[in-house]
Each structure stands twice: as structure tokens, then as C-alpha cells.
Amino acid sequence: MAMLEAVKGKVGTKQEMAHLLKQMMCIRAFEDKVFELLARDILKGASHVYAGQEAVAVGAMSAITATDYITSTHRGHGHCLARGGDLKLMLAELCGKETGYCRGRGGSMHIADVSAGNLGATGIVGGNIPVGTGAGLAARMKNEGQVVLCFFGDGASNNGSFHESLNMAGVWRLPVVYICENNLYGMSVSVKRACAVQDIATRCSAYAMDGVVVDGQQVLDVQATVAAAVDRARKGDGPTLVEAKTYRYRGHSRSDPRAYRTKDEEATWHDRDPILLFRKLLADEGVMTAEEMDAVEAEVDREMAAAEKFTLEESEYPSGDAVLEDVYAGWIKGRYGLERL
């Protein structure tokens, strides 16, 4: 098993490219709105914002089909949206409303749409790597050609669950594409200080799988590289460890003043904004005009406004009386303990 070269992306049809652009813009608009609502204390709790990493989720998700699975992370809004998530249902969930994807029970860190193959975000770093591996095991046993995209960060790659899971997938040749989003920091601790290796993909050699490093700011390169890994998985050639080099523009969470990063470093990465890079590429290749791309952004703004209206004006909080529902399938806490429904 070896380190592979990233696959250079190719521009597709205008329709396809517009879709990728719109998805990235949606994520950025959504995350900006989340940040604002957190500041206004309308959105409660934790929210870990994906701004800056859009090309990874969008590029990767465009390489799989509706019947495949993904597992996500605490920084999972981008994955959920790229997987076809509805802005309204997502914002409602983050605001704890009954109309949200998880009826307000999960919030930002536990957003999921299992029926759409999004097996969920998790608040435990590395917590979904074994879960994604298990979905890969199910895919192998069902033998219907499904694959799994298992997302996690640089921090999670130092967790025991990473080791156990990739070893299992390597031994059993599971159809999982492990996607490490290396945004250079696990909360405040840099990869330089936390990781024994700097190219996390090189850990592939410990698990009998290929590894590949890709520029996470180039959506088409991510798409092509993940597509090649997906192809290998579907053919039965087993898992791949893809490492996307990327950057989160905001802090770990809202309360993070980012003292551990320099302004210079942040500026360098802002110069590599994935949306701006893609806009430039589409303009240079003559795929879309500036007006057309602006029109996409305007559409996103309208949809985001509608999602805000839906969430803040048209959605209720769950009733406190419902707090005991759905802990179990078929049972609920009653007077004498758990009773059958």
C-alpha cells in the first residue's frame, strides 16, 4: 500500500459547477448566520463552524451517490449541507426547534439525517470513526456496492478509535474512504505539537491502505481524489486514507479568541478561500460569468433568509412534556419504570 498523488480535478458542466459553487456558498452563508445567532444568544450551546473548509465537504460529497453513507464530526454543518441538507431544517435544529432534523434533541454537534445516509455528527472527537467503519462492514456484507465517507479531523487521528478502526478496515478491506480534514489545529493545539507525523495520510502504511494528501481548498481536486478512492472501494480494493489540507477561518468554537494562530497565517489561508479560488477557476475557464456567480450568491442569500424566518418566526420549541420520548424503541419511562409503548 502506498502514498498516492492527489488527482487533479477537471471542470465539469456548467450545471454541475454551479451546484458545487452554490453548495459552498450555502455552507459559508449558513456558518456566518450561525456565528451571528450565537452572538445574539439566539442559538444556544456549542457550534463549531466549518467556514474555510467548504471545498472538502462539497468536493467529497459530490463523489458519492444517494445510497452511500457518511459519518460526520462535531464540525459537521458542512457535511450535512453537502449531503443535501435543508437550510431550514438545519438552522431549526441548531436553534433547538421541534422542526429541526433531530426535533431539537441533538443540536449542532449531533445533527443527522440517517434516512439520507448521514449517520450523524458526534460531539466525541474520533467517536464516529468506528461507527463509519461499521457502516462499511454493513456495506460489505450487504454487497450492494455502497461505500462510506468517514470524516474526522487531525485531532481525531491521534485518538485510539482511529487506530482500531483503520486497522479493522485494512484487515477486512472495507469500502470506507477515511477523510481527515487537517485544519492544522485540534482546538488550540497545532498539529506540529500534537502529531508525531505532519502528513497524517502517511499513517496509511500502518493499515494496509493507500494514503493521499490533497489540497482541501480546491473543490475539484478533492472531488477527483475522493472519487478515485470511492472507485477503489466500490471495486473491492478496500479503504483509503485521504488527508485534505485545509483551514478553519473561525476559532474552534465561538468563545475561542484564536490566540494560538498568527494573523499572518490566517491571512495566508484567507487568500486561499475555497469559494474565491473556485470562482476564479470558473471565470478563467469561461464556465460561468461573474454575474451568473453573483446570481447564485443572491439565491443563497434568499434561501438563508427564508431559513432564518422559518426558524425564528415559524418554528416552536419542543414541549418539555416530551422530554422522555424516543430514548428507546418501543418503551418509555412510566410510573413503575420503563413500560412498553
Binding site: 453513507y69 459519518t71 429541526g100 432534523y101 433531530c102 426535533r103 431539537g104 434533541r105 441533538g106 449531533h110 443527522a112 439525517d113 440517517v114 434516512s115 449517520l119 450523524g120 458526534t122 460531539g123 466525541i124 467517536g127 464516529n128 470513526i129 468506528p130 461507527v131 463509519g132 467503519t133 461499521g134 457502516a135 462499511g136 462492514l137 454493513a138 456495506a139 456484507m141 450487504k142 455502497q146 485510539g160 478509535s161 482500531e164 478502526s165 486497522n167 479493522m168 484487515v171 477486512w172 420520548e325 424516543d326 430514548v327 428507546y328 424503541a329 418501543g330 418503551w331 413503575y336 419504570g337 420503563l338 413500560e339 412498553r340
Partner: protein, 326 residues
């Protein structure tokens, strides 16, 4: 009726459910050709092959977590954690992911998995291979906990657990694998949340589970020699708990001894005591008593192990004190 070993009853339950439903599969350490550390999966690989009886690496987190993921992706895994003591490594996956996903996702998923494990003392293999940690999992919303004491219960309950859509911890006992009991040849299942009254009596209720349920029955025999008529309840299922069965007995006898092989401090039986307190306080003629393991890591030496773990004598002694016949 045929007599089977407890470990054979478990093996038969697995085989029957795997024949019935192609989504059911087994994975764990040494489950295939080795047949399980205590023989509970012996021979299954010959019938079902290595895809469905999967030997894993020594990776408890991946074993439990892969079961969660496979269950959410349409399979019905029966994963094994070889020793209850190793559940600590599997905890995050089982309790933080598997147990919580249904609730966190607004009821829009199920995690139909069974995690089989075995605990308990009796083999002098000491502190890291002899624990009874059921209280930790009874405490976690989203998880069911089942602990059968007989081959009949083991088979009937395991079949039910495999068909159930919840994440279930199925707790076997290393000293019960070699115990024989009657097991019907015909198809049968035992519902969750139902205790078994092993012996009827009027003077005192002995409530226990797993190996201690068998010791409670022995204690009832000792008490009978003293003219004390003990009722013995084997809980079988800790969560959901058969509160009604317990209350009915307490209303009859007015005296309760709770027995458990787990450490005394914060033992699961404290939950049982509280339910009796909440719903049957007026029927009690004496304080609720408990007989649990000493609050020590399980010691290796046989004399120390015996001193640490409840015996039939100590259960009977506790009952005699309640009845005022010490």
C-alpha cells in the same frame, strides 16, 4: 425436555436467529474457530462461515463502534466483548454513540445491536477479569441490560434481544457457562422486562440476578430448614426492570433481601431498593437489606475471592436478621 449447558443455550440462540434473519451476524475476539473464550460460539463458524462469524482484532472500541455503525446501516450485529472488564474500552462507542443516537437524532433511527459480555468472579483470575459492571450501563439512558441465570433464560432472552431494536448489553457469567438446565426444543422467546419467581414464599423476598439468583435459591433452601419461607425472584432483566413483580412480592412478604455480585457501593440493587421505597414503603416490616460484593478489586487468592463475593450463607443470614431469627 433436553438438558443443555448455558453456553450451548447461547450458541443455539445465535444459530437460530442467524438462520431466521440474514442480517444477524456475530463478531468478537476468538469467536470463530476458537468458539469463544468460554465456548459460547463453538461450531457456529462451520455452519455460517467467516463472514458472519467474524474474528476481530483485540479492538474493543472498534468492536462496539462497528456494531453501532453496522446496526445503523441495516444489519443486526451481535458483538462480543470477551470480559465485562474490557467494556471500559468499548464504553464511549456503546454509551456515547450507540445508546444516544436514537434520542439525539430525534427518534429517527434505531441501533439494533446486542453486545454480549461475561463477568463475575469464581475462577481466581482477579481484578481485571472478574468484574460485574452492570450498574454503569443501567445508569445510561438508551441501553437495555439483560442478565440471565439459567440456560432456559439465556436462550429465550438472547433471541428476544437480537430481535429487539434497542442497543442491549447481554451479560453472561463465566461460572454459569457450565451449568446445565432444561431447554425446550421448540421455538420460544422470553419478553424483556419480566422477572421470574423461582420459588414462592411468604416470609421474606430474596431478589437477585445472574449467579446470585442461583445462590439466592440455595439460600432459600437453607432458610427452609429454619422454618423461614423465602420467595426468590430472579430479575433476569435489569433494564427494563420488572418493578411490578417486585412490588407484588414485597406487598406479600414485607421483607426484602437484595443480592448482587457487584461491589456494594452504588450497586444496581440500590435502584431496586429505591423503587420498593417509592411504591411499597407501607408494606415493609423491616429495612431493605443488601448482600453485595466487598468494595475491593476482586482478589486472586481463592480464600480472598470467596470472602469478597456473596455466598448463599450470607444471603440466608441477612434474611434471618430481617425475620428476627438470627
Amino acid at each position: 425436555m433436553a438438558e443443555k449447558f448455558y453456553r450451548e443455550a447461547i450458541r443455539d440462540a445465535l444459530a437460530e436467529e442467524m438462520r431466521r434473519d440474514p442480517r444477524v451476524f456475530v463478531m468478537g475476539e476468538d469467536v470463530a474457530i476458537y468458539g469463544g473464550a468460554y465456548g459460547a460460539t463453538k461450531g457456529l463458524v462451520d455452519e455460517f462461515g467467516e463472514e458472519r462469524i467474524r474474528d476481530t482484532a483485540i479492538s474493543e472500541a472498534a468492536i462496539a463502534g462497528a456494531a453501532v455503525g453496522a446496526a445503523m446501516a441495516g444489519m443486526r450485529p451481535v458483538a462480543e466483548i470477551m470480559y465485562f472488564d474490557f467494556m471500559t474500552i468499548a464504553m464511549d462507542q456503546f454509551v456515547n454513540q450507540g445508546a444516544k443516537n436514537r434520542y439525539m437524532f430525534g427518534g429517527k433511527t434505531t441501533v439494533p445491536m446486542v453486545l454480549r459480555t461475561e463477568g463475575g468472579a469464581g475462577r481466581c483470575i482477579a481484578a481485571q477479569h472478574s468484574q460485574s459492571l452492570e450498574a454503569w450501563f443501567c445508569h445510561a439512558p438508551g441501553v437495555f441490560v439483560v442478565a440471565p441465570a439459567t440456560p432456559y433464560d439465556a436462550k429465550g432472552l438472547l433471541k428476544t434481544c437480537i430481535r429487539d431494536d434497542n442497543p442491549i448489553l447481554f451479560v453472561e457469567h463465566k461460572m454459569l457457562y457450565g451449568v446445565k438446565g432444561e431447554v425446550p426444543d421448540e421455538e420460544y422467546t422470553i419478553p424483556l422486562g419480566e422477572a421470574a419467581v423461582r420459588r414462592e414464599g411468604d416470609d421474606v423476598t430474596l431478589i437477585a440476578y445472574s449467579r446470585m439468583a442461583n445462590r439466592a435459591e440455595e439460600a432459600a433452601g437453607l432458610l427452609a430448614d429454619d422454618g423461614i419461607d423465602a420467595e426468590v425472584i430472579d430479575l433476569r432483566c435489569l433494564k427494563p426492570l420488572d418493578t411490578r413483580c417486585i412490588l407484588e412480592s414485597v406487598r406479600k412478604t414485607g421483607r426484602v433481601v437484595l443480592a448482587s455480585e457487584a461491589c456494594e457501593n452504588a450497586n444496581f440493587v440500590c435502584e431496586v431498593a429505591m423503587r420498593v421505597n417509592e411504591h411499597a414503603f407501607d408494606y415493609l416490616d423491616a429495612p431493605i437489606a443488601r448482600v453485595c460484593a466487598a468494595d475491593v478489586p476482586v482478589p486472586m487468592s481463592p480464600t480472598l475471592e470467596d470472602a469478597a463475593v456473596p455466598t448463599a450463607d450470607r444471603i440466608a443470614e441477612a434474611a434471618r436478621r430481617l425475620v428476627g431469627k438470627v
